[in-house]
């Protein structure tokens, strides 16, 4: 047992269980809110990207390209440090709101590409069938295309969710105390980097494995012909 204590001092770590637990909860909370935001943004931009109006689809395409060619950390800094007061709130975004907004905007661009691929995978004949029934663009999307596309995109969306959760570690840079910053706290207070960061890594790994399992399950259940 002494051998283990030298490499991984679980006794010191036990004092920090509340910090790690709170950090884990915050990470999950941030990711959960950002996930819903990104799905909404992704769906809207995927539909815009496929719209016949050139202004609309060019706008959506530039958004996706701008997000994809800049680092998330820069996006977080711009939203948190550089955004002025928000008129409706009468104040600037706090670190939690800024972090969530940046994560949602970032993941939304990637989600929109996945959803767009899903929409385009729906056979052309089905859209033409819906058109010949006199359905409008909105109706075709709502009743024919999106239900089929969503079933096909669930596994890659879960993969993107795993990336979103990992990326949420970057909001610790603007002072949100989540799972990663719990590790930083342990390192700075006790100077035990091994225990601090191996524990953090294990925490993220567990979340990832759960999502991996869910993705495989969804792939089996939703697999098309």
């Amino acid at each position: 047992m002494n051998f283990l204590l030298e490499f991984y001092n679980y006794r010191i770590l036990a004092e920090y269980i509340p910090q790690f637990y709170e950090g884990l909860c915050t990470t999950l909370k941030i990711s959960f809110v950002a996930l819903f935001g990104s799905l909404a943004i992704g769906t809207v931009f995927a539909c815009l990207r496929l719209a016949p109006n050139p202004i609309l689809w060019r706008l959506a395409a530039s958004y996706v390209q701008a997000i994809r060619s800049t680092p998330l950390l820069v996006q977080i800094y711009i939203i948190y440090f550089a955004l002025p007061e928000i008129p409706l709130l009468d104040r600037r975004l706090n670190e939690l709101e800024g972090g969530i907004l940046a994560l949602a905007l970032n993941a939304g661009a990637y989600m929109s590409e996945i959803i767009r691929a899903g929409i385009q995978s729906v056979a052309r004949g089905q859209v033409e069938g819906a058109m010949s029934l006199g359905m409008t663009y909105i109706q075709r999307m709502r009743h024919v295309v999106l239900p089929q596309a969503l079933a096909r995109v669930v596994p890659p969306l879960l993969g993107q969710t795993a990336i979103l959760i990992k990326d949420s570690s970057l909001v610790s840079f603007i002072g949100v105390s989540e799972l990663f910053s719990a590790g930083v706290t342990v390192m700075t207070e006790r100077l035990i980097p091994t225990e601090a960061f191996v524990t953090v890594a294990l925490g993220y790994l567990v979340i990832y494995l759960v999502l991996l399992w869910a993705s495989n399950w969804a792939q089996r259940r939703l697999a098309g012909p």
Binding site: T70, F81, A162, S172, T194, Y208
Partner: protein, 222 residues
């Protein structure tokens, strides 16, 4: 505004140069490592394949930030002399390991996209395993790998922004330092940093799109 840009330009350019240096090192090292792992993953070496599967999941399942800290702070704490890295090598090694997981899956998918019949035909003609790989599989697989590989290179460039945390003054940290000096021009400076990243990444993304129309894409990959 233009005055601030002029004054901070040398600092930002130095940062950009370091970003380019880190990303180029990582492209070379990460691609090589990923290529070797991908070859093994596509081979029939069962135990090694399974071990590398665990390696890939471990690296994919944790944030890059955590991996960077593990390599920069935890490895030196083990006391082994050659595991004590300076910031720059630590950044390149961490980014390369992270990159290798993506590259290896692309290489594996590219190799598996070549029809089995061709391999069997080559073997029937008396070609050795390595000849089959070099003359039949790779010439076709490499072309298929180019489009997804550009995506990985963009990932690397963006990943370099995270290494600012261990004290490397690359583009983002240079921007932070400039912003500390001119707090009133925060939006301009961070906008400029974002623009520089965009200028570096966007051509690579375009190249990927061009390669995809030219060489086609691997079905069901990634």
């Amino acid at each position: 505004m233009s005055e601030t840009i002029l004054i901070t330009a040398p600092l930002l350019m130095k940062g950009l140069w370091l970003t380019i240096k880190i990303s180029m090192w990582t492209v070379a090292l990460g691609s090589f490592l990923g290529f070797v792992i991908g070859l093994i993953r596509a081979s029939r070496m069962k135990i090694l394949k399974a071990a590398l599967g665990v390696y890939i999941h471990c690296l994919r399942g944790t944030p890059f930030l955590v991996q960077l800290y593990l390599i920069y702070f935890v490895l030196p704490a083990t006391g082994v002399e050659w595991l004590k890295f300076e910031a720059f090598p630590a950044a390149v090694i961490a980014l390369s390991l992270y990159t290798s997981t993506y590259v290896s899956e692309i290489v594996r998918a590219g190799i598996e996209a070549v029809p089995k019949g061709q391999v069997e035909a080559a073997r029937a003609l008396g070609m050795s395993k390595w000849q089959t790989l070099g003359h039949v599989i790779l010439p076709q697989a490499l072309k298929l790998m180019i489009p997804p590989m550009t995506g990985v290179y963009v990932l690397i460039i963006k990943g370099t922004s995270v290494v600012s945390v261990i004290g490397i003054t690359e583009l983002l940290r240079a921007g932070e330092q400039a912003a500390l000096r001119y707090p009133s021009e925060l939006m301009t400076l961070y906008g400029l940093v974002a623009l520089l990243y965009f200028v570096y990444c966007y051509p690579v993304l375009r190249l990927g799109r061009w390669a995809e129309t030219k060489f086609g894409r691997i079905e069901n990959s990634l």
